[in-house]
Amino acid sequence: MAADAPQLLRELDETWRTLGHDESKAEGKDQDTGVLRACAMTLIVAAAEADDEQELGAMLSSLMQLHPSRTIVVRTCPHRDAVEARTSVQCWMPFGRRQQICGEWIEIYAGTAQFGEVALLLLGLTVPDLPVVFWVRHTALGHLDALRPVLTLATRVIVDTSEADEQESALDAVRSLASGVEDAPHPHWRLADLAWGRITRWRKALAGILRNAPAPTSGTIHWAGEKMSMPACYLDAWLRSMYPAIEIELASCDPVRPPVDVGRIRVVQLNGPGVDVRLERPTGGTNVVATTDGLQSGLVFPRLDEAALLAEELGIAGRDHLFEAALKIARTG
C-alpha cells in the first residue's frame, strides 16, 4: 500500500486490539495473559534491496528481545517509483511465561529518489519521547544526501565498516557521518561503528594484561584476508591513542578472508622493555591464547553476529570518547 504515517499507526493500533482480543479469548481470562507491548526506542534500519529479507528479519527479531523497539526497516529499491509500507508485530513468548511480548514492525520500500518522502514518513512514525536509533547497514548509504534528513531524527547512528573493501573511503564515510558528533556544542547524533565493537574483546584482553605493565614501544597486528581489516585499523588506532610513541606494523598473514562473524584479527603482539604480550587466535577458532612473559592463558572469543554487536552498541549510553579518539587517528596502512 502507499505509505501514510497516520494510516500505518492506525493499522498497528488495530493489530494490537485484535491480538489482545484473540489472546484473551484463547486463554479464557482477562488478566495475566494476552500480549505485552514492549518498546524502548525506535530503531530505523536502512537496508539494501539485496539484503536477505529472512536473515535480516531473524536478526532484528532476536535483537528486539534484548532491546524492544518499534523497528522500521527502510529498504532501498533503486527502481521503485513509489513509497510503500506494511506493518506487523513480532512476538515472542519468554520461557515459563503465559504472556507474549510483542514489538512493532514497519517495512518501507522506497527508491532512492523518494528518500525525501521517506524522511517525512519517518518523522510521523517515531515513538514519542524515546530514543531514535538509525542503523545504516551499508555505509555507502550514508553518502546519500537524501538520507541526511532521516539522520537528523536520530539520537544514535550506527554503521558497520567491518566488510568494507575500500578502507579509505569507508573511513571517510564514517568521519563524514561523525561530523554530527563533531558539531559540538550541538551534536545531533552519536556515531557508532560495529567494526569498533568487533575489537572490544581484544581491547579488553589487552587492558587486563597491560594494566600495570610498562608501555610497549613496538607492536604487530596481523589479520586474515588480503585487504586491510577495519577492526585491525581501529585496534591500531586505539593502541596509538593509548601509547603515542608506539610503532605498530600492520600486515596480512593469510590471504584467505574468513567469514565476518569469525573475525579477521589473528595476532596482536606488543613488546617493549619489561613487556612481552602476544594474543593469537588460530584459524577459524574461537579460543585465543594469551602469552604474557611466557605464561599462557586461554580466552574465548565467540563468533560475533550483528545482533550481538548491535546489542553492545544499544547498551551504551552517552558518547564514546575512546571510539571518537581512535577514529580521528585511524589509518589504513
Binding site: Q65, G208, P214, M242, G298, E312
Partner: protein, 509 residues
C-alpha cells in the same frame, strides 16, 4: 616511567579483576562444587578473571591436584546454570587449580598452605593477592582465621598486594557469639579485609532496589511515612528442610533468614540515600537504618513476633512429613520453621510505618518479594469503595521472576465509573533478555575487586542481632503449641492476627 594510560573502557568493559589466588577451605564440599567453582568458571568464560588466576582448594580428603581438577570439572559440568561448558576453556582454567589436603583444626595445614601458596604465586603470577574463602562449618571460622594468622598468611608478601577473607552466614548463633566471632576475626584481619557474604545482596533485584530508588526522581518523594502505609517482606519456600534437619533445628527461620537476608533487604528498601555510590557510604546507610530499628521489649515480643512450625499434611495424594518427623530433628523440637515479625524504624522518614517480615518453610510456593503498600486516596469518589480494598501497591519481586510491578486503578471501559485494579509490570528477564550473573559470580568478583558494597559489615551484623536477640530470648523461654500450621498453608493464624491488630492483612504473593 611516565604515567600509564588507562586502558579501561567503562562503557564496554566490565570491571576487571586483579590477578589473585582464591583459597577455598572446604573445597571438597557441596558449596564448592555447586556454587563456587561454577561461578569462578563462569567468570573465566566471561573473561572477568585476570590471566594470573588460581584456585587452591583444601579440605581433609586426600587428593592430588589432578583428582581435584577432575572432581571440579564434574561439578562445573553438572551445576553450570544457563550457560554452555567449553572444554577448551576448561583446559586452560584447570591449569590454575591446585589442591592441598589437611586438617583445618591443626597447625600443620597452615604451614603447608603458606608454602603451596608461594608456589602457586610463582607459577601463576597471582601477584601475592589471595582471597581466603571459608566454605566450612561456621564453628571453624575463627580457628581458620587464627591458623592463617599464625602462618602469617593475612599479610601479603609485597606492597600493593592484598589478603582478604570471605565467610558465609551464620555470623554467630546469637548476639554474644557474633561479637566473639568478630573479635577473633579482628585479631587477625582488619575489618576492611573481612567479607561476610550474604548471597541475597548479590541478587540483581536487590541491587536494583538502589537503582530504582536513587536513579529515578519520582519514587523517592513517596518513600516515607506520609505516603507508605506499611511494607511486607516475604521469603517463602515450598520445600521443607530437605535433609538439613539437624542444621536447621539449631537455626530456625528467624536466625536462618530474617536476622541476615531479610533484614539486609529491609535495610536496602528503607535506607537513606548515600552521598556517593561507594562501598562504605552505602554500608554506612544500611547500618544506620538497622540501628534505627526499635528493639522490642519482652512484653512486645508476644504481639510483634510469631513463631511457627509446620506439621504433616496430605498434598496431591502424598503425605508430607511434619518438621518433627524429619530426619535429624527431635520429636519435641521447638525450632521455628516460620517466623514473622513487626518492626518499626525510628527515624523521621519511617516513624509509625510497620515493616512486616515473614519467612517460612513448606508454604504454598517459593517466592521472595517486598510489597510497599501506599495509603489510599483521601476521599473515595467512586462507587464500591474499591480503592480502599485495593490500595496502590509496589511489589519488588526478588525470586523466582525478578521484577517490579505497580498496582493502580483504572476505569473499566463503558458507561459508569467502575474501577478495576491493574498492574504495570517490569520483568527483568523479558526487559533485558540477557543473562543475569548468579549471586556468587557477582559477590566473588566484588571481593576480588575489593568492593564490599554488597557484603555485610561488623556493625550491620551486630545491629541486626540486636533486633533479633530479644525475640530469641523470649522464644527460648516460651512454650509453643507446635506444630501450628499445616504444610502448604501461609503459616500460623497468629501471624494473620499480628497484622490484623493494625487493620492489615498479609498479601498472597
Amino acid at each position: 616511567m611516565g604515567a600509564l594510560p588507562n586502558l579501561d573502557d567503562p562503557l564496554r568493559f566490565d570491571r576487571p579483576a586483579p590477578p589473585a589466588a582464591v583459597v577455598i577451605f572446604g573445597a571438597n564440599g557441596d558449596l564448592t562444587q555447586r556454587k563456587l567453582m561454577p561461578a569462578l568458571y563462569r567468570l573465566a568464560f566471561e573473561r572477568r578473571l585476570a590471566p594470573g588466576f588460581a584456585v587452591l582448594g583444601t579440605s581433609r580428603t586426600a587428593m592430588s591436584d589432578e583428582e581435584f581438577r577432575v572432581k571440579m570439572r564434574a561439578g562445573v559440568e553438572k551445576f553450570l546454570e544457563d550457560s554452555p561448558f567449553d572444554a577448551g576453556l576448561w583446559e586452560e582454567f584447570e591449569r590454575g587449580l591446585y589442591y592441598l589436603a589437611g586438617d583445618i583444626a591443626g597447625d600443620e595445614l597452615y604451614k603447608a598452605l603458606a608454602a603451596k601458596l608461594a608456589e602457586v604465586e610463582t607459577e601463576r603470577h597471582t601477584g601475592g593477592n589471595a582471597l581466603f574463602y571459608l566454605s566450612t562449618q561456621p564453628s571453624y571460622y575463627a580457628r581458620v582465621a587464627e591458623g592463617l594468622g599464625a602462618a602469617g598468611l593475612q599479610h601479603a608478601p609485597q606492597d600493593g598486594a592484598w589478603r582478604r577473607i570471605i565467610i558465609e552466614k551464620p555470623f554467630g548463633h546469637d548476639q554474644q557469639s557474633a561479637r566473639e566471632l568478630n573479635a577473633r576475626l579482628h585479631g587477625v584481619f582488619d575489618e576492611r579485609d573481612i567479607y561476610r557474604i550474604d548471597h541475597y545482596l548479590g541478587k540483581e533485584t536487590v541491587q536494583n532496589i538502589l537503582a530504582f530508588r536513587f536513579g529515578n526522581g519520582i519514587f523517592e518523594p513517596l518513600w516515607n511515612r506520609r505516603y507508605v502505609n506499611h511494607v511486607q517482606i516475604t521469603a517463602a519456600e515450598n520445600i521443607g528442610v530437605e535433609g538439613r534437619g539437624a542444621y536447621y533445628q539449631e537455626a530456625g527461620a528467624l536466625r536462618d533468614m530474617i536476622q541476615n537476608h531479610l533484614m539486609q533487604v529491609m535495610a536496602t528498601i528503607a535506607m537513606e540515600p548515600p552521598a556517593v555510590f561507594e562501598s562504605d557510604a552505602v554500608r554506612d546507610e544500611r547500618a544506620k537504618l538497622l540501628r534505627s530499628i526499635r528493639i522490642l521489649t519482652p512484653e512486645e515480643v508476644a504481639t510483634h513476633a510469631v513463631a511457627g512450625q509446620y506439621g504433616p499434611a496430605q498434598i496431591g495424594g502424598e503425605r508430607l512429613a511434619g518438621f518433627r518427623e524429619e530426619k535429624g530433628v527431635a520429636p519435641d523440637s521447638r525450632t521455628d520453621t516460620y517466623a514473622a515479625v513487626t518492626l518499626f524504624v525510628e527515624n523521621w522518614r519511617w516513624a509509625g510505618v510497620p515493616f512486616y517480615i515473614r519467612s517460612g518453610k513448606r508454604l504454598p510456593k517459593r517466592v521472595t518479594d517486598i510489597a510497599i503498600q501506599f495509603n489510599t486516596a483521601p476521599l473515595s469518589l467512586f462507587a464500591d469503595g474499591e480503592p480502599g480494598r485495593w490500595p496502590n501497591l509496589l511489589v519488588v519481586r526478588i525470586q523466582p521472576e525478578e521484577g517490579i510491578s505497580l498496582r493502580f486503578f483504572s476505569k473499566r471501559p463503558g458507561s459508569g465509573m467502575t474501577l478495576r485494579p491493574v498492574t504495570m509490570d517490569f520483568n527483568y528477564g523479558t526487559s533485558f533478555g540477557e543473562r543475569s550473573p548468579s549471586a556468587y559470580e557477582t559477590l566473588l568478583l566484588d571481593a576480588l575487586q575489593g568492593d564490599a558494597t554488597l557484603y555485610t559489615r561488623q556493625d550491620m551484623v551486630e545491629a541486626s542481632w540486636a533486633v533479633v536477640q530479644p525475640i530469641l530470648d523470649v522464644w527460648d523461654g516460651s512454650q509453643f503449641e507446635f506444630p501450628n500450621y499445616a504444610s502448604g498453608t501461609w503459616g500460623p493464624k497468629q501471624s494473620d492476627e499480628m497484622l490484623a491488630r493494625r487493620g492489615h492483612v498479609w498479601r498472597i504473593p
